[in-house]
Amino acid sequence: MGTDQPPQPTPRRRSRLLVHGESVIASVGIALAAILLSVMAALAWWTMRSERQTLEQARIDQVQAVGHLLSQSAEAMLRNVGAVEKAEAESPPATPSNNTTPNAEQAPPAPGAAELSAIRRLVADAGEKYDLTQCRIVLSDGTVIASADPTQITAAALPDSWTRSRPFDDALPEASDGSCSMSFEIKVPGRGDADLEITAPTRPGRVRGWEAQAGVGAIGAVAMVCLLFVYRHMRHRVRALGAIREALLAIEGGETAASILQVSTDLGIEAKAWNEVIAAREKLRRQDVAERAREAMGQRGEVRGDLAAACDAMSQGLLLVDEKNVVSYANGAAAVFLRARKEDVVGAPVDRFLQVDNVLRAVKDVAAGSVRRRTVVDVERKDDVPGGAGVLRFSVRPVRRDDSASAMVTIEDITQQKVAEEARHAFVAHTTHELRTPLTNIRLYVETAIDEGEQNPATRAKCLNVINGETRRLERIVGEMLSMAEIEAGSFKIKPDDVRLETVFDEIKADYQQLATEKKLSLDLKLPPKLPVIRGDRDKIMLALHNLVGNALKYTPEGGRVTIAVETDGRQLYVNVTDTGIGIGSEDMERIFERFYRAKDPRVAKITGSGLGLTLAREVIRMHGGDVTVESQLNQGSTFTMTLPLKAEAA
């Protein structure tokens, strides 16, 4: 639709857009969540990294402080060792000894041994307490005099003097590979230099690192769960907002249809509120339309006089023609009947628009005043436009005034009346014929029975049999007419009950088998092994089936075949009545269900029928919630299909 406005997006495309928008919003939500999580993870990693660096630096500072303290203490103690030895040398011990060399290393106890062991204890304590990998005092010639690891000690006592044989490494403490090493210089006056060497691990304890990681992980997991939870709850909202956004964009794009702008109410309260807004807007627009309509209708009344308005409100066409044969007035309906614009008709010569000879003659006569009676002419008009053909009734009558004469022409469309009249005529003719045939038969057989019945019981029985059959036929015809009248009057009702289809089809077969044999037709019933019980009015369903099967037999020439096939798909029951009869032409196909309509085929005209049967069958089955349809090929045969719902309650 809307081909006249190509740039406008079609409603179909819009609605697809709305759906698309919702999914875009949803994926944006997921992307945001992913970004947030990544940022959190990066933040956690960065925090842990800087925390670790801080801890490492603190450890280095600690080790350095310990080293300073230790080196100063050791220096003081080593000086002390020197002082003690000197004192011992100046005043030898009470027990004289032959071997009193000042550097008698083996002589226990060595001079200053107590001080040295104090240093060693101090170093060992520091090593243990501050978790140092290595902590030792090395003299500058490479001799180790104290160490946290006692196996590294290479000299039991302090030598008198030594000389530096290795360079002192005064590099700044450096952390590498998770540990740091540093050296501190100790000066022992009069003997030489010594170095305090310390190596310590700087990496924080493994347990501590794990704790931090687990903490961050747990917080992350909780955050993620919360995020998912919130997302789950927000998803509908977000989708609703997305849909509303699309709708707003659509409004900006010029969309106005409420049906397109509304969003699904499943999307929550926002969607409902939005729909209410749209509905209110639509209501306002409708009020606006109604207002405009009222104004337009009101204006028409105001602008013209009451009389002119009244004439325009007439469904009959009205023309006034003066004595010069010029149209002096035409109402709206007249313009429509003459297929012209009202403004063009008024003031124009009457023969410009009215080209029917006898009407024109009548108008001219009356307008001239020569004829003073009313003339009525029915004009049939042919038209190529479907529905255009019809019958117009022109009534011409004089309008007398003192000074002038004029003619008033009223135009009426009586097509439908004509059609109805024809149909009624046909109906009366058909039904009279239909009713007379069985009546004639009954009368003939009654006479025969009266004349011969006394003597010949066989004849009497045959007569009674025929009379019985004809009476039933008569009853059915009258019943059909009554039903049709009831449907027309709206008082037709169906009384739903359980209908056993087995008995229905048994009855149909019994009723028509004889007729089929007489006409030399084969009548086949194809029933499924088990027929369902349906809900409906048995008499009315029978009536419809009688019509379909009766028609099939009626319109199939000798030697043909009529098949009644019953199928069910669990929801509906299909009864296909197929014949090899005369078939129905395409132009009749749509119309055969109309009341009183009989196909134009000359073969049909020879067969009696009211033109009511199929109308009735369809009406009755439609009242049951089903339908009757037809497929046919001229001269090949027809299939009438009756569909009945299995479960649904009869309407």
């Binding site: 106005t256 397109i260 339309v289 436009v385 479907p386 059609v419 749509e590």
Partner: protein, 111 residues
């Protein structure tokens, strides 16, 4: 929108199928105007296959009614569902149309 056309007796029954909105309304209006001039107003709109009508649809119906009103005719419709009838009643437009239960009744009203 698909508009089915059927002639019953001398009356054209137009049965639009689908919602009467936006572009469809213009199409229906054009079709009704065409039918009006062709059949001299002898037509019925069968609304039974129209699920809902928006303001554009109403506008189209009002315009056709106005056009027909100029020649003293009324738009006859039939089979409108509850939703559509409610809209017509709420907007006070129901009185501008003739509404019938089904197409047969509407066709009979031409007698």
């Amino acid at each position: 929108m698909k508009i089915h056309e059927q002639i019953q007796g001398a009356v054209t029954v137009l049965r639009p199928e689908g919602p009467l909105v936006e572009g469809d309304a213009a199409l229906l209006k054009q079709r009704l105007m065409q039918s009006h001039s062709a059949s001299l107003g002898r037509f019925v709109v069968d609304m039974s296959a129209i699920p809902y009508v928006d303001s554009k649809g109403l506008e189209a119906l009002v315009e056709v009614t106005e056009e027909m009103g100029r020649s003293g005719q009324v738009l006859r419709m039939c089979g409108a569902n509850k939703t559509v009838r409610e809209v017509l009643e709420l907007t006070d437009l129901a009185s501008h149309f003739d509404h019938f239960e089904d197409a047969n009744t509407a066709v009979r009203s031409f007698l």
